[in-house]
């Protein structure tokens, strides 16, 4: 029987594209038996219906590249970069194919072979290599944003229509940009002591964008942790997790940041490393994969990753006092991909919400379907991201006043969706709701509820 069948693609003869530092891992793609069980889980396949824009199709192309049947070209790059890296296919896959890791490896392979050029290169390098890795520079940007928001410049730009000069998706984003506050990493250089008896010592991973755009969530996380007897350390050597770099195919910078974080956190030696951004948490847990060929850091990466825990899972597993402050509101919960599919955390955040008095939980259909944020996907692929967001908003129950989740990227994206639909719903982090409930009980707790 003719195993290879008829082929129109000529075997690729240039050996140089076959040997890569970050070639996709054969054992990982060999686990795919081409059954197609992943298809329906994939948001891009759902939109396009193209086999090569499905998890199975992408893995098929990776195999073809590894076997030299297909060149590393734009035609390979397009499906690989159209992937949201949402990992929904990993939940669906009966064989446990690590599609996310394969995609990230393939992106590394593509960027080694087809480096970015022109303005794309400039923008990518500026953000990935010159901005995200440096907390000080991000803070300068944060301060600039603060000036923009508070000096009246934002109002001016919006009123005069200056803001309309930006592309639509950037304008949408500008419209929902949260108010910038002071980053927690610099605010608490010596950490924050626990209230009362110390149950455990934890270190907070503050995140790069998170600490500039959403430092109030970091503040809430710190309050909830310390209130429950967890001493919070703030290792000052920590940097961006590198997820955006790995997603973009810049594995080298991703590894550099990984080593730096491993050093910073292992030196502080906390019992656990707490993360409140699902994307970062997933990336930190996958350092052993990223550094599997690094003799020096391989073991340290495993040691570090074993400590990493999402804040909702940590509170659920290690205990928290049930809050008493009543929040009379209707809330719905969106599963961030990198929490549900990436880390298998689904039940815990819902249980946190259920523990809050007065909060009525409204189910969100297809709650674990990607919202289109996917790191910086909504900036690099705005068209597709917009369509996926529209689907998310169609499912979003109108009666919910609050939309809760565990990832800042999703928060920005869904806030944009809320604004686009002209709705009046507030997007919050799960831990913020817990914090509000605690804060409310501080002022007044009716006797029958204590």
């Amino acid at each position: 029987m003719n195993q290879s069948g008829i082929r129109m693609v000529k075997p690729h003869t240039d050996e140089s594209t076959l040997v890569h530092m970050s070639a996709t891992d054969e054992d990982k793609f060999a686990a795919c038996v081409h059954c197609g069980m992943c298809l329906e889980s994939c948001p891009t396949y759902d939109e396009l219906g193209h086999e090569h824009q499905s998890p199975r199709g992408r893995v098929h192309l990776m195999k073809a590249v590894a076997q030299g049947k297909m060149a590393i070209s734009e035609a390979f790059a397009d499906p690989v970069f159209t992937c949201l890296d949402c990992r929904a296919c990993e939940t669906a896959c009966p064989s446990g194919v690590q599609v996310g890791t394969l995609i990230e490896e393939a992106r590394g392979q593509i960027r080694e072979t087809l480096p970015l050029t022109g303005w794309k290169k400039t923008i990518s390098r500026t953000f990935l290599r010159k901005l995200f890795p440096y907390p000080a520079r991000l803070q300068v940007l944060g301060k600039a944003l603060k000036v923009y928001q508070r000096s009246g410049l934002q109002t001016f730009a919006r009123k005069t229509g200056l803001v309309n000069l930006a592309p639509q998706h950037l304008r949408d984003m500008e419209a929902i940009m949260p108010m910038v506050t002071e980053p927690t990493l610099t605010k608490y250089p010596h950490g924050i002591p626990a209230n009362g008896k110390v149950k455990m010592q934890v270190a907070l991973f503050t995140g790069c964008i998170m600490d500039v755009m959403f430092s109030d969530i970091n503040e809430a996380t710190i309050r909830v942790l310390t209130r429950n007897g967890y001493e919070v350390e703030m290792p000052q050597g920590q940097r961006c997790c590198g997820a955006l770099h790995v997603h973009a195919g810049d594995r080298e910078e991703g590894r550099r940041l990984a080593r730096q974080n491993i050093d910073a956190f292992l030196e502080a030696d906390p019992d656990k490393v707490i993360v409140n951004a699902a994307g970062c948490g997933c990336a930190l847990k996958e350092y052993p994969e990223l550094l599997r060929e690094d003799q020096e850091y391989r073991e340290r990466a495993k040691q570090f990753a074993a400590k990493v825990e999402d804040v909702s899972k940590f509170l659920h597993d290690y205990g928290y006092r049930k809050p008493q402050g009543k929040l009379n509101a209707r809330v719905t919960y969106h599963d961030a991909c990198h929490l549900a599919h990436g880390q298998g955390v689904r039940r815990e955040p819902r249980e946190l919400l259920e523990s809050i008095p007065g909060l009525q939980i409204i189910p969100l259909p297809d709650a674990d379907r990607c919202c289109g944020s996917a790191g910086i996907y909504n900036l690099t692929n705005p068209g597709m991201a917009g369509k996926i967001l529209d689907k998310k908003m169609e499912n979003m129950p109108a009666e919910a006043e609050l939309i809760s989740m565990g990832n800042p990227g999703c928060m920005l994206q869904i806030a944009m969706g809320v604004a686009k639909c002209g709705r009046n719903q507030q997007v919050v982090h799960t831990v913020q709701l817990l914090d509000w409930s605690y804060q409310k009980e501080g002022r007044y707790v009716p006797a029958e509820e204590v």
């Binding site: 693609v9 081409h34 329906e40 939940t91 009966p94 064989s95």
Partner: protein, 475 residues
């Protein structure tokens, strides 16, 4: 059309729009096979129509130019029915994925062919209804594909296969003509609906399907039974049926299959060292279910069961089924490739057939996992191999053929629900005489006179002069 010398691409784009045509070799590569990966072939292009009119216009155009074509759904087929062998244009129906109509009173649903099987049940479950045929790929496979292959599933023992649930079809014939078959109520005359269902995309392209939907059973209970002898499990299967029980499902897995599913994404925690397990489900009106369960447990005990339990709740039941339904794909955890066979045998011959399969496995050196719908004698031996090892793919194909020969020799047949496709064309000779094959190709000719639609599938390559003559005179 920019980027191609093939004028056909422009012509197809004029019908469906340029965003609905793929033609670059790199974009087509993912269409070189479906879930049957042993045979591969590149299509000339892939088109994505959104309406029946677009399908008809595309087909008419291709027919006029005598260009071969074939339909494709989700591409989860296991016999290669959607693989192009002669540079066909693939008509992908995945963008025709609407649920068109639900009529609970008359228990009818109408769907487009690209609508996914499980989505139908999800869409009507709040009304208390479901769609019975449940192939293991139901998370992804389309109902159009189910009709083409006459798909089965775990619950077909009691409820029947796709053909028992299809009430009407809209079909684009290979010349582009649109016809309607069946409908409610049932029409007198030849059962063309039955002919079209399971024709593996060789008689027409289905563009609309009316199916029967069922009311959820009042009660449902599931039993899991572990055995340390395959023979005991096999006899238990026969005894359950002999006791007059018609289980909704009666499934079996052997040692290697259990090893695979336990390494997969949905492990149950089956104890090691099992020779076989049975998954048995009974459903219906609540009265009598408990008696049936008692009877089933009794049968298992008389057949030396190691352990037998009833699912305590819906969650446990769900975990058992997820484990079973992902069995094929979970083989990826213990083998890089597998070939799944689809033989059917009389239930009573199960022990001897399993012994023969074991001998074939030992002689060939390839491991075989057995997962099957034991209740209706539909075997799925999964032949594990590594395509990277020279000669192993061919060996797997030979082993598969030998297994089907065993099935045919005990009075069974070569396919229960996966179809013949490319995979079992030659094995058709195990169960059909030359005259029977010729009679069927003549029927095909009535619908598909130039054999442009999914040629070279379902029947063995012509072996007799007469048949060759028929085909030559058709071209």
């Amino acid at each position: 059309m920019k980027g191609t010398k093939d004028s056909l691409v422009g012509e197809l784009s004029a019908i469906v729009g340029s965003s609905a045509v793929l033609f670059q070799p790199e974009d087509l590569l993912a269409y070189e096979c479906d879930a049957y990966t042993i045979h591969r072939g590149m299509p000339r292009a892939v088109v994505f129509p959104k309406t029946t009119q677009e399908v008809a216009a595309v087909v008419k155009h291709l027919y006029g130019k005598r260009i071969p074509f074939l339909p494709r759904g989700a591409g989860t087929g296991l016999s290669g029915g959607a693989i192009p062998l002669g540079g066909e244009v693939i008509i992908s129906l995945v963008r025709m994925k609407k649920l068109l109509h639900v009529d609970v009173e008359n228990r009818i649903a109408v769907v487009q062919p690209g609508f996914v099987n499980l989505k139908l049940t999800h869409s009507i479950s709040d009304k208390g209804y479901y769609y019975a045929p449940d192939p293991s790929s139901q998370y992804a496979c389309t109902i159009g594909g189910n009709v083409a292959e006459n798909a089965g599933g775990a619950h077909c023992l009691k409820y029947g296969v796709t053909t028992n649930h299809v009430l009407g079809l809209e079909v684009v014939l290979p010349n582009g003509e649109v016809i309607e078959l069946g409908g409610a109520p049932d029409m007198p005359g030849y059962d063309l609906l039955g002919l079209m269902t399971g024709s593996e995309g060789t008689l027409g392209i289905v563009t609309k399907i009316m199916v029967r939907i069922l009311k959820n059973p009042e009660e449902k209970q599931t039993v899991l039974a572990y055995f340390d002898k395959v023979e005991d499990a096999s006899y238990a299967v026969s005894d359950i049926i002999a006791a007059g029980i018609v289980p909704a499902a009666l499934e079996m897995m052997d040692t290697v299959a259990i090893e695979g599913v336990e390494c997969g994404t949905y492990p149950v925690g089956h104890p090691p060292g099992l020779q076989a397990l049975l998954l048995i489900e009974v459903d219906g009106i609540a009265a009598g279910i408990n008696e049936q369960i008692t009877e089933i447990v009794g049968v298992c005990k008389r057949r030396n069961v190691m352990d037998v339990r009833v699912a305590e709740n819906e969650e446990e039941r769900g975990r058992w089924w997820a484990n079973r339904k992902t069995a094929f794909a979970a083989m990826g955890t213990i083998s890089p490739d597998y070939l799944v066979q689809d033989g059917v045998i009389p239930r009573s011959r199960l022990p001897e057939v399993l012994a023969s399969i074991r001998r074939i496995s030992e002689t060939s050196g390839l491991r075989i996992a057995n997962v099957f719908h034991a209740g209706d004698g539909n075997l799925h031996p999964l032949i594990l191999f590594d395509a990277r090892k020279p000669g192993e793919t061919d060996l797997a194909v030979e082993v598969g053929s030998a297994v089907l020969k065993v099935c045919a020799d005990v009075g069974g047949t070569i396919t229960g629900e996966h179809g013949v496709g490319i995979e079992k064309r030659e094995e058709m000779r195990y169960v059909c005489t030359d005259e029977e094959i010729e009679a069927q190709t003549r029927i095909r000719t009535v619908f598909n006179p130039h054999n442009l639609l999914n040629a070279d599938k379902l029947f063995p390559k012509p072996s007799r002069c007469a048949e060759i003559k028929i085909i030559q005179s058709d071209r």
